[in-house]
């Protein structure tokens, strides 16, 4: 029996529709209350390529509503924990976990790799970043947001429809609107709103029904009432985002997501004892750092080479430019391996530093 039989026997979907689902690429921002049901249903439906980005780790207070996670996920990065659960749910699809914050620097490159973007983030700065990046990359945005017992759903930037800025032109003043972690939320609410977002995604992929473009659906869990409000496209709001697109990647996030420091400079770490230096470049890459006692774990083999990591030591990872090593630190943090840092200088710079300062690490003394 085909896994997707109950889709295929619907005349509105059929094998043709299921093939569209299999060929779709969807990126989900945040694996929290909204992201969990979105990811769960899109994975079950067989969306061919799913990306999930979240820098945060699973906490006990998340389990009341973030239904992809269990007690065994506590402390793990949400993107990685979600991927583990989802891959078990459906191993036929490809799932990419990005255990890092969404920023002005990574958003455009990331969005370009997907057809549809789903916003399940939990703060205004990220929501406006997602909206603006969708305008710049011309991707439809399936929006969902919640407050206590209420939810909002819409599809923005679809076929010249309005964007989030056409509804709310600018972010509210800081701290004016609290989020779930500060004020509480009914656990089932993100389940309802996230499922409605997944429904919009499938309608977009299949081209059936009426997409919630140009409309904001408001749902109240206590009264079971819905209101649908019409939103018009505001050319000025959208044009101002496009006008600033050249400087987009130079902007910096202001939010205090309390991202811990994960970098350490070579000059700092070289004087420390009890450090394991790990080169995460592929084995063929040069120059090697010969003056340090280096463990070689290419990023591509990281998750299958955890036995090479010395848990009793501080881990200092490096690569060519500090990008892959930073990614590797996030992955290791997601797997609950702590005390990992990335050296922002690349291998060549490390060699130059060692040469100039005639340093041999204290490990080798």
């Amino acid at each position: 029996m085909n896994r997707y039989n109950r889709h295929i026997i619907l005349s509105e979907i059929g094998q043709e529709g299921q093939d569209k689902i299999s060929n779709a690429r969807v990126l989900v921002i945040g694996a929290g209350g909204l992201g969990c049901p979105v990811l769960q249903y899109l994975t079950a439906a067989g969306v061919g390529a799913i990306g999930v980005i979240d820098f945060d780790v699973v906490e006990l207070s998340n389990l009341q509503r973030q239904v992809l996670f269990g007690t065994s996920s506590l402390g793990k990065n949400k993107a990685i924990a979600a991927k583990e659960r989802l891959q078990d749910l459906n191993n036929d699809i490809s799932i990419a976990a990005y255990p890092e914050p969404l920023t002005y620097q990574n958003a455009i490159t990331l969005f370009k790799q997907y057809d549809i973007i789903v916003d399940g983030s939990d703060n205004f700065e990220t929501r406006y970043l997602v909206n603006d990046a969708c305008i710049i990359t011309n991707k439809p945005l399936v929006f969902g947001a919640i407050y206590k017992f209420e939810g909002q759903i819409s599809v923005f930037n679809y076929h010249n429809g309005p964007s989030y800025r056409c509804l709310f032109p600018n972010p509210p003043q800081k701290d004016a609107v609290p989020n779930c972690s500060d004020i509480g939320v009914l656990g089932v609410l993100p389940g309802i709103i996230g499922s409605m977002q997944a429904n919009e995604v499938l309608k977009l992929i299949l081209g059936i029904g009426n997409v919630l473009s140009g409309k904001l659906l408001c749902y109240h869990a206590l009264t079971s009432q819905t209101s649908t409000l019409k939103i018009n496209r505001n050319e000025t709001s959208i044009q101002s985002v496009l006008d600033e697109q050249d400087s987009f990647e130079n902007k910096q996030m202001n939010i205090g997501c309390e991202i811990e420091v994960i970098e350490v400079s070579i000059s700092e770490v070289i004087s420390e004892k009890n450090v394991q230096f790990i080169d995460v470049r592929e084995l063929h890459e040069h120059p090697k750092v010969d003056h340090l006692n280096v463990t070689y774990i290419p990023l591509s083999e990281l998750e299958t080479s955890l036995h090479k990591i010395d848990l009793s030591k501080k881990k200092a990872l490096f690569c060519k430019s500090g990008m892959r090593s930073k990614h590797a630190v996030r992955v290791l943090q997601g797997l609950n391996i702590n005390n990992c840092f990335s050296i922002p200088q690349g291998a060549s710079e490390i060699n130059n530093y060692l040469k100039e300062h005639n340093k041999i690490p204290s490990n080798e003394r």
Binding site: D119, S121, K148, P172, A176, V177, T223, L229, K230
Partner: protein
């Protein structure tokens, strides 16, 4: 005229109700808003958009509708 006003999210917390009906003379949306600001003193600290008969309107729009909604943004996810 008699209009129904719906309050969402934090706005409903300010007004302590999800909706109400008020009698108001004709005018603009901004005149309605100043009436509400007088009635609910902390409303002016809140960010929200206004919809009239299920369509977003700006403050200069004429008050025509039977139903007004005060809609704040939500951040939660």
């Amino acid at each position: 005229m008699l209009i129904t006003i719906k309050y969402f999210g934090q706005i409903a917390e300010v007004t302590q109700k999800n909706e109400e009906q008020i009698e108001i003379s004709e005018g603009s949306i901004s005149e309605l808003l100043s009436t509400l600001n007088t009635k609910y003193s902390t409303l002016k600290n809140k960010d929200f958009q206004i919809a009239q008969n299920q369509e977003l309107v700006d403050l200069d729009s004429e008050l025509t509708g039977a139903e007004i909604a005060l809609l704040p943004p939500f951040a939660g996810g």
